[in-house]
């Protein structure tokens, strides 16, 4: 019967999705459980910090600069209509620190570092390096996965802060240097409007949450990938898609919790 078959298909997909979420959650706790040994061998985390954090620097800095410059240009065009160009600094800084810094940096991080993590671990699994480690009584989660997880969590807030800081200077460059908004009111209004706890610290919390989500998704997809060339490529694609959607959805929830209502 075609109707029963369709319903069975829906059921199969639902069970599959729930099963994967459950596996990912168990995987997350497994990483936390094996993290102790990776902190004792801190050079592994430093090595991963280099490949996730340092190698993402260029794309983050360049993207931050251009996003800030576009914000300055567009913000000026709109604020000019109301004669409040002096509020340009406020707009650029709040937009970057609250939203664009954490979100865009996390999206770039997911496609730059997350996809690389998935591909690396997926290929390790396909070439049976992970099984070989288990044979040598080295737990692959402690040796391979946990250092990458902590490197992602440490580097994400730093990258988001760099993105916002560079973006503010991009906005400054376009607004003050190019267009000629008054420099004093640009900085003074910004400082009066941006609160350290409410805006900057909440932005850091956001990027921390995004970093956790992206690294867990990337590592799980890699660890769970079918050990074939096709499987690894599919897992890499899924990492970028799933973590981008997760970032945007988490961002809405966090924004509603932090800035909604007041």
């Amino acid at each position: 019967m075609p109707a029963a078959k369709a319903i069975r298909g829906i059921g199969h997909r639902t069970i599959n999705a729930v099963w994967r979420i459950g596996m990912a959650t168990r995987f997350f706790f497994l990483i936390l459980a094996y993290s102790g040994s990776s902190f004792r061998r801190f050079h592994l985390i430093i090595k991963e910090l280099f490949s996730t954090g340092v190698m993402s620097l260029i794309i983050i800095v360049v993207a931050g600069l251009f996003v800030g410059m576009v914000l300055g240009l567009q913000g000026y065009e709109t604020l000019k209509r109301y004669g409040s160009e002096s509020a340009l600094g406020v707009m650029v800084a709040l937009g970057l620190v609250r939203e664009l810094g954490p979100v865009v940096a996390a999206l770039l991080f997911a496609s730059r570092a997350g996809s690389a993590m998935t591909a690396e671990i997926g290929l390790m699994k396909a070439t049976e390096q992970l099984s070989a480690m288990e044979m040598m009584a080295v737990h692959p989660i402690a040796r391979i996965v946990a250092p990458r997880f902590w490197a992602g969590i440490i580097s994400m807030p730093l990258l988001a802060a760099l993105f916002s800081a560079v973006g503010v200077f991009g906005g400054y460059f376009v607004g003050v240097v190019q267009i000629g908004v008054d420099e004093g009111s640009f900085w003074a209004q910004m400082q009066a409007a941006v609160d350290f706890e409410h805006d900057i610290l909440n932005g850091v919390i956001k990027s921390f949450v995004f970093g956790t989500a992206v690294t867990v998704i990337a590592l799980f997809e890699g660890y769970d990938a079918p050990p074939t060339a096709e499987g690894v490529s599919g897992a890499t694609t899924r990492t970028v898609v799933t973590s981008s959607l997760a970032i945007l959805m988490l961002d809405f929830i966090l924004t509603a919790m932090m800035f909604g209502g007041s």
């Binding site: 954090g53 440490i154 802060a161 800081a165 350290f196």
Partner: protein, 154 residues
């Protein structure tokens, strides 16, 4: 790459990230501009605070001297009680007048302090007796319309 090279790059990355965070806090945020740790508290009653909010600035002669700590309705007097924390460096006489003012025509509202001539200074927990409430634009327009209507027709 060699281990020391990686260490150097990661160290530079962490330092740059922390520096960006400090720069955001100091240059972009309000942490560098005003420190509330060394402050004393005073309060005042206003019949209408308008759009004044907690953390709004308190200025005297245009200089930032403190922040609004809290705004509550006192149900004994049915007036708004505004608690302000003022920087210890700035002392005000007891007959200081506090007004709720607006920066620009439609800008943010703040508390303005006009120093008086009393020799005694305000202490922690004191009350400002002389206050002037917020100027509400709708009331002003209403008054203007009524006064126009009362004028004899020419």
């Amino acid at each position: 790459m060699e281990r020391t090279g990686i260490d150097l790059w990661v160290g530079m990355f962490v330092v740059a990230g922390v520096a960006a965070l400090v720069m955001l806090a100091m240059k972009v945020g309000n942490l560098g501009t005003y420190n509330v740790s060394d402050a004393y508290k005073i309060h005042a009653y206003f019949t209408n605070v308008g759009g004044l909010k907690a953390t709004a600035s308190i200025k005297s002669a245009g200089v930032l001297v403190g922040r609004v700590e809290s705004i509550t309705l006192d149900t004994q007097r049915y007036e708004a009680k505004v608690v302000m924390s003022i920087d210890k460096r700035y002392q005000f006489s007891r007959d200081t007048i506090s007004k709720i003012q607006t920066s620009g025509l439609l800008g943010e509202q703040y508390v303005g302090l006009d120093a008086g001539g009393d020799a005694e200074m305000l202490k922690d927990g004191d009350q400002l007796k002389k206050t002037q409430s917020a100027m509400v634009l709708e009331d002003l327009i209403g008054k203007f319309l009524y006064s126009k209507a009362e004028e004899p027709a020419k």
